[in-house]
Symmetry: C2
Subunit: 554 residues, 2 copies
């Protein structure tokens, strides 16, 4: 079902071009670019880093996503005449017309990106991407890159948390399109929720564009649109193997319904005829895919009984019904009751498969509610999650930032009234230290020119948060967290399909030690700077408190 | 600057076609449509209503937005061959091939929409839109319409709350693109934040497409990219009227800086040369638009002094600098200090305008933080809001739903395990009752065939929440909350530009009594059903507890 990588990427690239034109950015990128251009600084080599300051959702890690979109954006970055005409109308009238000629020629052919691999577990304050190139160009890219990474990484991380809360047994269905920030918010959510560990989406366009497996059967409106068995048409069905002539499904099911009522001691008078009609009509249309929503009226007095009767008819005709969906009330309690009835039917009518029909639960489930499923008795096999997944209710923004770290080969650092808003200067290499069991335990930010740490050799490092005391650590393995992904206008890594990136995510999470994966109060993963980088920071701080007395000169 | 309505609408329509293809929906819409089609019910006339169940943000009202996008979506609703090929691959293999022929021919030429006007104050449980047409078609529209209304209305309402919290004096700048749910989340946020009462956006594409006024000057990266006055080029500037030859701005500003340091007793050694260079370079590029961010190092020890020096130079050359931006720390406290220094400069150097330079504050401001600005001493003139506005942190989803209320002329009602998930059946007329002062005080849901309530005449009504006791009320005026906006495939109302809709919003909010507008614990606006509708609900409930004994028949 999944389109091949190249085809999928072409679709993504087209969509990026349409959705992320170069004007989709903050105005100040243009005023700054103009000021650089005016001062003749626009081609100075500059380096920016993209990172976030706190792991989301009170967790111990995040996932890095959105990289492919960024690279496709860079590849198609060009201003149209229409764009420039608009810019001319909003930039101050004093803007030199030659600046627009400069913009017209601009592209990302001199831009280089080094980054962590997409789908990797990452930590606060470790740069995810390093974007280098002509100062004016890399400045112009800021907002678009942040926009593409921020939400993708956030929703992917959120999905991974739901996945961990759910355990590996349950299937997870994403169904948040209607509650997302408009069409593309929903599409991004479906794609990155899948990458983060969901199994299915309700979003058809996400299936079409990215090959995400899609699922869904019926809403309440379908059920309530029926009022009488007379609306069921056709009401005959062949057996699954086509051996027998058409059977009248209505009388067959009425027979089963009587037996189900007897078995459960249910009151036939409370059963909704319209609901039965809806189920029958759906079963006739999709006898292999019968999974109705059973709470339009009352699960125990009507929906469950109607389901069992239709399912028994389908079994009799050698079809295999799928199960039921619960969409309101106490899902755990109801699922236990549903499973009990499935078992009774299974035993009474000697249909072993009836016992293990699927129970889908969907009712505004939060991560907390998902975690509770492991504590409360329940029989839910598939959980649908919408609002809390796509809006990331608990923390709706990752807060990625994009900071200048070097210009013309000289390191840059931002101080700030808020100390945690200060930046780590200089062009870096980033290494992940693994312990003897292959678990990462420390990310080390070094200056780019430093030799890489060596497995089995002690290395000094200074944690970036906390008391900052120097540690000496000895990694069993060292991996590099920076790939060359975009070199001078070309994407320089194979592009992964959505499914491939999803694999990488699962692998990266598996490698992480459980102490960093606890949903609440995880251990803090250590992020540190090398001795050399530590010294550079100290030097810049010292210089800064002792600035050149330029006022006295001249 | 704003494009004319028709041009703006063409741009919006193109963007809707690209962003909201008919596959951007939940799979179950197709499985249901198939089941209807298979049963020959696809052309039965059906009516759906779109509404939300709780006013957002703990407030007393919401705003209705996203209608124009819905209508443009309906107008362009058609499946392509590529869409159908994909659907064929994901729908069960048993799907009759003729169904895809049916889908290929489908459009919204038989769909009719009646709705509240876009930009109106609306309340929980009052249907915003009524969508009627062939059952299969109006079912297929569900997710897309919800997706277009949900976030637009939510962010518009959020913006209106920020506007109310800020008071009318302060200007509000939306700057959330980088923190939104991807590119289109950011674009939708910028558009509807403006409609909800913001004055400006940082988002250039929102300006380009929708004519929203754009603003922005510089980021910290611009400031930290400079390290020495040698990078300022050119360093000369003509006077504003062009009378004089070019003046050396560096020496002029150094002179002013000495005077400023004297005036304020500041230590020249702490002033950052790079920051001054950045300010000078920007001033040379945009002497009429000088508004730097002054907290890259230290506001009081460097940024403010550098600003004052450059601003004094600009005043001397007859330019009018704009002001400063503060982006970290305690904005209130700093703004007071900045204003104090502005006043001192104004007095000491006899420049009255210096006192009233603009102070922009941007630092992760929430609605609560905005409301605090009215309680704490501060001098902030313009507030920039990003994350909390676009992600609607306090409630990131409005929770609109789309429910079937009538099929083949017969009312439909959903019961539920959660009583508040039950629906109000039947095709309706909706009236807003105004008091003698022209304030709305009650929305009345009637059956469509009932005569409209008359001004000055008592009418019985039953509140939909609370104790449900019958009331008699006498409106001074009655307005209808349902316009015919889409009739048989045609948009039947003039399309409003973004700015026109913004006007409507402001007007609608102004008309609302303050007791419903309190940000915390507002009064509850009454939503009621007419006597006739009340009786219909009772009748359906009675019938439902006493369903036809279809089991016994036959």
């Amino acid at each position: 079902m999944a389109p091949p990588s190249s085809q999928a990427c072409a679709a993504v690239e087209r969509s990026i071009r349409e959705r992320v034109p170069p004007l989709l950015t903050d105005l100040y990128q243009f005023t700054m670019a103009y000021a650089y251009w005016r001062a003749g600084r626009h081609n100075e080599p500059a380096v920016f880093e993209l990172f976030f300051r706190d792991n989301p959702f009170g967790g111990g890690f995040s996932l890095f996503s959105g990289l492919l979109d960024c690279l496709l954006f860079l590849r198609s970055f060009r201003f149209s005449d229409e764009d420039l005409e608009y810019l001319r109308s909003v930039l101050p009238p004093a803007t030199d017309p030659a600046f627009f000629v400069f913009l017209r020629e601009l592209d990302c052919s001199n831009v280089t990106v080094r980054s962590a691999p997409e789908g990797t577990v990452v930590f606060a304050r470790v740069p995810l991407m390093e974007v280098s190139g002509p100062l004016a160009v890399v400045q112009l890219l800021e907002t678009s890159l942040l926009c593409l990474v921020n939400y993708a990484s956030l929703v992917c991380s959120n999905a991974a948390r739901f996945r961990m809360a759910a355990g590996s047994r349950r299937k997870l269905l994403e169904m948040g399109l209607r509650r997302a920030q408009g069409p593309d918010g929903g599409l991004t959510a479906s794609r990155y929720a899948y990458i983060g560990g969901f199994d299915l989406t309700s979003n058809v366009q996400a299936g079409f564009l990215f090959g995400v497996p899609v699922a869904g059967t019926m809403a309440h409106s379908y059920v309530t649109s029926f009022s009488s068995l007379e609306e069921v048409w056709p009401h005959t069905l062949m057996t699954a193997n086509g051996d027998h002539e058409s059977i009248d499904l209505i009388s067959l099911t009425k027979g089963w319904l009587r037996l189900v009522c007897e078995l459960l001691g249910a009151e036939p008078g409370k059963i909704r005829e319209g609901e039965l009609a809806a189920f029958l009509s759906y079963a006739v249309a999709y006898p292999h895919n019968f999974l109705p929503v059973i709470d339009s009226y009352s699960v125990s007095c009507s929906g469950l009984l109607n389901f069992c009767a239709v399912a028994l008819s389908l079994f009799e005709l050698d079809y295999r019904p799928l199960g039921v969906r619960l969409d309101s009330g106490d899902l755990c309690r109801q699922s236990v009751e549903v499973r009990r009835v499935f078992r009774l039917c299974s035993e009474r009518f000697s249909i072993p498969a009836f016992h293990s029909l699927t129970i889908v639960g969907t009712n505004n489930i939060s991560e907390h509610g998902m975690a509770e499923l492991n504590l409360k008795e329940n029989e839910i096999d598939v959980v649908g999650v919408g609002t809390h997944l796509v809006t990331c209710t608990r923390q709706p923004s990752l807060g990625c930032v994009y900071k200048l770290v070097e210009v013309r080969g000289s390191p840059r650092m931002k101080f700030s009234e808020d100390p945690e808003k200060s930046t780590v200067p200089g062009r870096k290499a980033i290494y992940r230290m693994l312990d003897t069991e292959g678990h990462p335990f420390l990310d080390l930010l070094c200056l780019r020119e430093e030799p890489a740490p060596t497995a089995g050799e002690a290395v000094k490092c200074h944690p970036v948060v906390g008391d900052q005391t120097c540690q000496s650590i000895t990694p069993s393995q060292v991996t590099c967290l920076r790939l060359d992904v975009y070199i001078k206008g070309q994407i320089s890594q194979p592009m992964c399909s959505t499914a491939e990136t999803r694999e990488k995510v699962q692998h990266s999470i598996q490698n992480l030690h459980p102490r960093y994966k606890r949903l609440e109060e995880p251990d803090t993963y250590t992020v540190a700077v090398s001795e050399k980088l530590h010294n550079l920071i100290a030097e810049i701080r010292k210089d800064s408190s002792n600035d050149s007395n330029f006022l006295l000169a001249n």
